[in-house]
């Protein structure tokens, strides 16, 4: 008798677990999506400072960024003096630089794509890479934690089989209520943490409440990091494709 009942219950339990996990997975993906949408919009304008900190030097680059996701962006450097007036243009997967001292536009050849951009740890390649977080990974909620005073979902993202991403897995902390991306940890395949992103200084920017201070910390190079500080953002900025042209590179201010 009991055996028969077990036989019936067993598949039901399995089904419940299965459905729950799908839901959870969907939830995880939804959560990631929402937190992504919070800080992005189809078009935007932002004023940002990037601070590069190395063990023996550091440098701050001020810039204005116009973007039409996901294919177009123009970045105008406002400081330091030696770089002021330089412009980087991204169109789809190609990158151009405008060099004011030489009055010339140079297209970055593929072999230079992995050279660092503006001296930072980001490469030209990083600029054109699509944020593949949502689609190239399978996401699951693995826990709930408090981080920096916020209750967060802890989501694990594992790359799909053919995805061209170097990571073994990612761990993301997203605040439950507001969907702030507060921390992301990047692990290699041997499960060693290679770098982490931290978001903080939550404030109002462009009508939304989001982290304004971002740090990228390479774990294997202690004492180094790259910091982004957003001073102002306009979401859904009125701009179209024609803005992102070689001619316009020379004109933006």
């Amino acid at each position: 008798m009991i055996k028969q009942k077990m036989k019936k219950i067993f598949p039901i339990i399995t089904l419940v677990i299965f459905l729950t996990s799908i839901l959870t997975a969907q939830d995880a993906k939804e959560i990631i999506k929402k937190s992504d949408e919070l800080i992005k919009s189809e078009s935007s304008y932002a004023e940002v400072s990037m601070t590069i900190i190395k063990t023996d030097w550091s440098r701050t680059v001020g810039m204005k960024m116009w973007a039409l996701e996901p294919d177009y962006a123009i970045i105008y450097i406002t400081e330091p003096a030696r770089d002021k007036g330089s412009v980087t243009l991204k169109r789809k997967k190609e990158v151009w630089n405008w060099i004011p001292t030489a009055q010339k536009v140079i297209k970055i050849p593929p072999s230079m794509m992995l050279q660092s951009w503006m001296g930072s740890d980001f490469t030209n390649d990083d600029l054109v890479k699509e944020s593949s977080l949502i689609n190239d990974y399978a996401h699951t909620i693995v826990g709930e934690e408090k981080f920096n005073g916020y209750d967060c979902y802890k989501i694990e993202s594992i790359p799909k089989l053919d995805a061209g991403v170097v990571w073994g897995r990612l761990l993301t902390w997203i605040s439950k209520e507001e969907y702030y991306q507060l921390k992301v940890e990047f692990y290699d395949e041997d499960d060693f943490i290679v770098k982490s992103y931290l978001g903080s200084d939550i404030k109002e920017l462009g009508g939304r409440i989001i982290p304004a201070h971002w740090e990228m910390i390479p774990v294997d190079r202690p004492g180094e990091k790259t910091i982004f500080d957003y001073h102002g953002i306009e979401f859904n900025y009125n701009v179209n494709e024609s803005f992102f042209s070689e001619q316009n590179m020379k004109r933006v201010r």
Partner: protein, 405 residues
């Protein structure tokens, strides 16, 4: 009659005849073997480069030579490469995809040359399989296996079975990313080579790019370097719209070392011949000194001096000829033996024994040299006899007979 006398003289003094015979034999053997070693050492160096990646002949499109973009593929490449592999001089052909791209790991990225191959065919054309130090040659990983050099793996902080992401501009110029897994790690003598070249299956590349099976490069391995010039001319004519190059075009510095080798060889042969000349002359002088009494008697009983001279010369000619034949046989045998087994050079050089891989020298001697060297040695032997013979016939018979022999 002189001939008969000469023959008898040879047998009368076995020791002396033996020495001269052996001198000629040794001289010829030395000449043949040393030339074979010299040519072999150059051949070995060239061959190891050809085998590693250069191949005997390479074909690309003219545009590809200027800018190595994957979009400059060889039209009808696969058919052409099949045609070429049917030629009897050709051992096999490797049709490759070449892309300049980037390889990334969690810690670092590097620019690389991505070489898409058919692993089975590639084995017949280059020897990269022999340089594998860890893992296997395309065996053990089913999805997107990749072969990387040790230097690159170290730079990227990767090991066997690690994931490595390649990014490159595909045929339709879009930037493509794909994950591969390290199935084997190789190490050659050239660290720059190891750092820059990675090997994947063509089929995996086509799948990633969603493209036709195009190829950028045809690399040809001949059955023997003898066929190089003829095959090169043939292919150049047949595929005039394409850019055909031999290893001499691809690595001109290698050809220069060949020219240098020829000069070196001439000089060394000169030295060896001179040494032989003096050695035989000396021996003959000594021997003539030994036979002073004998010749004195001959002249005293009326043999014309010129005939004595001829007598000695004939003796020497006979000995030289025999020496030549035996020397050639000895040379042929040793060259054949070592060209099979090879000489392990690390026995002779500390610098080389530090290398992980044994450096083997295979002596080689083109047929032409056999004839030339044999003739030279025999002539040397005969020349060596001239001076002692002349000295002999200047003898005063009376003094000669009285010599305390």
């Amino acid at each position: 009659m002189l001939l008969a006398l000469a023959w008898k003289n040879i047998w009368r003094n076995k020791k002396r005849s033996l020495i001269i015979l052996v001198a000629i034999t040794l001289g010829l053997w030395a000449g043949l073997f040393s030339v074979a070693v010299m040519i072999g050492s150059w051949d070995t160096t060239v061959n190891s480069t050809i085998d590693r990646n250069l191949s005997h002949i390479q074909i690309h499109t003219k545009e590809f030579k200027d800018e190595s973009l994957i979009s400059f593929f060889i039209p009808d490449g696969n058919n052409i490469s099949d045609e070429i592999s049917d030629l009897k001089e050709v051992k096999d052909v490797s049709a490759r995809v070449l892309i300049e791209g980037m390889a990334s790991s969690p810690s670092s990225s590097r620019g690389v040359n991505i070489i898409g191959i058919d692993p089975d065919r590639e084995k017949n054309v280059t020897t990269i399989e022999n340089y594998i130090v860890e893992g296997e040659y395309f065996n053990g990983i089913k999805r997107n296996p990749i072969l990387v050099g040790k230097k690159l793996a170290d730079k990227l902080g990767l090991k066997l079975h690690s994931k490595i992401v390649l990014s490159f501009q595909s045929v339709d110029t879009t930037l493509t990313y794909a994950a591969f897994r390290i199935v084997g790690i190789y190490k050659t003598e050239s660290t720059p080579f190891d750092e820059a070249h990675i090997f994947v299956r063509k089929s995996d590349l086509y799948k990633t790019m969603n493209s036709q099976p195009i190829i950028n490069e045809i690399a040809i391995r001949l059955n023997s370097s003898e066929y190089l010039d003829t095959t090169y001319t043939l292919l150049k004519e047949k595929y005039s719209s394409l850019f055909v190059e031999s290893w001499k075009d691809l690595a001109p510095e290698l050809e220069m070392t060949y020219e240098f080798l020829i000069v070196e060889m001439q000089i060394f042969l000169g030295i060896i011949l001179a040494a032989l000349l003096f050695g035989i002359t000396n021996t003959m002088l000594m021997s003539v000194l030994d036979r002073v009494r004998e010749f004195g008697v001959l002249i005293a009983v009326g043999m014309k001096r010129i005939r004595v001279f001829l007598l000695i010369m004939i003796e020497t000619i006979i000995l030289s000829l025999f020496g030549g034949i035996i020397g050639m046989a000895l040379g042929t045998f040793t060259i054949w033996y070592f060209s099979d087994k090879g000489i392990d050079l690390s026995l002779f050089s500390e610098g080389l024994s530090a290398w992980g891989m044994p450096t083997i020298l295979y002596p080689i001697l083109p047929l032409y040299f056999y004839g030339v060297l044999t003739t030279m040695i025999i002539i040397t032997g005969i020349l060596a006899a001239v001076y002692p013979s002349i000295k002999t016939i200047k003898l005063r018979p009376a003094d000669a007979i009285r010599t305390y022999g």
